[in-house]
Symmetry: C2
Subunit: 182 residues, 2 copies
């Protein structure tokens, strides 16, 4: 039997540039009511870009919410209603300075389903050509390459902790092994 909750009322508490927060009243399966705190987000796109040396492009970036630098695949948020592949192409261009002529869908990644609507669409980008990084004026990150194999080992050792990066690296590595990604 499918599980379900019925939305009864939704109150917007905050509307920012990145997120909108609502407090909702819902009817549960047992007929009782409860509240749900919801972070609404337009979603994101993350890209694992593989060059002909079997290296991937990573960025090291300070993340204020965690007060630390993380190692991540290039990624960014969608505009409302934007095609995720378009966003992926834009972010790869801005953050990594790369154009890719080959794109493959790597599936959806739902970061934190308990209270947040965000979905990150993951892609593999190949056949890369450099076009020059062009960050926003207030965006600071360090771009570098690593052999895919080394990124895989850094995920397994716990050195890479960013969720979308864990998923993208392990998925690409596994699909390769299974002969499902040419």
């Amino acid at each position: 039997m499918p599980h379900f909750e019925q939305s009864l009322f939704s109150q917007t508490l905050f509307e920012g540039r990145v997120i909108r927060v609502t407090l909702d009243k819902v009817r549960l399966e047992n007929g009782r009511t409860s509240t749900r705190e919801v972070v609404h987000h337009h979603g994101g796109a993350g890209i694992i870009a593989l060059n002909e040396k079997d290296e991937i492009y990573l960025v090291r970036q300070y993340r204020y919410a965690l007060d630390k630098e993380l190692i991540e695949i290039p990624a960014g948020k969608l505009e409302s209603g934007e095609d995720p592949l378009k966003a992926a192409q834009r972010e790869l261009s801005e953050e990594a300075g790369l154009h890719a002529s080959s794109w493959a869908d790597l599936g959806s990644f739902i970061p934190t389903c308990g209270y947040c609507s965000e979905v990150i669409y993951l892609y593999v980008a190949r056949n890369l050509s450099p076009i020059g990084q062009h960050l926003d004026e207030d965006e600071f990150l360090s771009l570098f390459t690593l052999p895919l194999k080394q990124a895989y080992e850094m995920v397994l050792s716990g050195e890479i902790t960013d969720g979308k990066t864990i998923a993208a690296v392990l998925k690409v590595y596994a699909l390769r092994k299974e002969g499902k990604l040419l």
Copy 2:
């Protein structure tokens, strides 16, 4: 050179049961100021529980923020300052009705670093004994088992989209292959 942002001011906009939302003013590397929307969360614990038949325990649960059911490993949020392993043991007991006498650390998973402080601590639980599921009165989920191999295939096919579940399944599968998880 490490990247950094200095917090200048933090205003709490909402304090709920699950999240606290702040709007912060920060000083950037270039000396300019900007704002950061931050979702504060105490963190979570997620458990991949393996039985002697090499099956894992999964839950199917409605997620209001996404308006759909997802397939997930058992997981739950930490109380403020709670030991993540304690929380993992509690959630495995509540959601899956299992006690495990063997626990291994599977590393940290940061769901969405751009605006949220949440860290999910992942564990592998083995040597399982049934003690009976005891859900909260207002908690509804369906528990089932799947061969680890089948869960792995469902991750690669895109059928499993929950981030922590993707990470836990692929990490356990890879660590096994590498002989790093006995």
